[in-house]
């Protein structure tokens, strides 16, 4: 995006979230929206992360706790199913892992450089409950 110099800014500014006219945004999912360049959806905060969440579909029960508590709209849920993580917008806070109720967790934090296949292969086994 072409950036303006300080003297070229308008005193008041208006940014359009979408290109052209839009209707029913409330029922249109991200993949079908005509985002404009000034929508922060087109930007990325992936470089904030030092740890990243890895999703193991095998253990997921689609409870959607991660979806509701994700502060960065980075848990992608479609048709009541959790289908993945939006790595452009995830800041690596780790809330999704904390709220995941399965045993073993279906989301775990790994170092940012970790290979995802390797992370999945070293997934911890089910923990026994201590009474």
């Amino acid at each position: 995006m072409q950036k303006s110099g300080w003297s070229e800014f308008e005193i008041g500014a208006m940014l359009r979230s979408f290109e052209g006219a839009t209707n029913n945004i409330a029922i249109t999912h991200q993949e079908d929206r005509p985002y404009s360049k000034s929508n922060s959806f087109t930007a990325s905060v992936a470089d904030w992360r030092i740890v990243k969440p890895v999703f193991n579909k095998e253990y997921c029960i689609d409870c959607q706790f991660c979806w509701i508590y994700c502060p960065d709209i980075s848990i992608i849920s479609r048709d009541k199913k959790m289908i993945g993580i939006d790595m452009d917008h995830c800041k690596g806070c780790g809330i999704c892992v904390e709220v995941c109720p399965t045993n073993p967790k279906s989301l775990l934090m790994f170092p940012e450089q970790q290979d995802e296949e390797a992370a999945l292969s070293e997934w911890p086994a089910k923990e026994k409950k201590e009474n």
Binding site: H29, S40, V45, I68, C70, D72, D88, G94, V97, E98
Partner: protein
Amino acid sequence: MSEMKNIKNLKEFSTSADRFEGANLLCPGCAHSIIVREVLNATNDDLILSAATGCLEVCTAVYPYTSWDASWIHIGFENASTAIAGAEAMHKALKRKGRLKQERDPKFVAFGGDGATYDIGFQWLSGCFERGHNMMYVCLDNEVYANTGGQRSSSTPIGASATTSPAGRVSYGEKMNKKDMLAIMAAHGAPYVAQVAPNKWKDMIKKIQTGFAANGPVYINAMSACTTEWKFLPEDTIAISDMATDSLVFPLYEIIDGTKLNITYRPKTVVPVEEYLAAQGRFKHLFKDEYKYLIKEWQERVDAKWDYLQRREEASV
């Protein structure tokens, strides 16, 4: 009146299409965006939003980007409420004159931090409630001016260390009690006033939808755990929020028509306030021997408030 969105369970709720976007610059683990998402997803109606200066505003409208997929305006620190009240008044006038291009009934929502609500925008907010605009004001209450580096606000509770009320050799931090904003807003005769917390999402959605359906100004006080200024790890936001609601430091209740009080959440096991305080760095100094009496006072204050709320609920006044 548009149809209310039917949200039976979390799975159904998760089919919502968010109108708040990522790559905003809020801290990792910030509760602000969790609250904003829950508010915006509670309805499918058009939204007209405003935000007061604060974390939410500076982080979601960083030129040349916006994180909002709805009409959104920011003017100043104090006037998020009046900005949205003006829009609401204009909508009402155009509708009456039949000059609306499209017949739509948008929801008007203003967001403000506790600084913008309890202190700086208080007079403006009070004016909006007096005039009875059909709007919702959501206060994201993180008990500190987090955006400018953690100065105390009139929402900061006793004993919290803030940069303008630091704990040290001679002081235990903030000395004033937190303002009871809900009682003040209810005293305006507002049709609906409620306290919510992001971790109790179902309670929150219900209150937000009740607020949208109400005819008149609605005040929502949303507890927003601040990882940076409350000093806990970002992944603990929900755990800390759970402690806040379960220790009754943030009791969840609603006040209808300025009088009828309902408690909407009763924890199965009440957590001691000490645990809530111990989990946050801003209360660390209270655990020194000379300040331990403050923890006892905290517990007594929370118990007294809970007792008061229960008596009010029972008496239905």
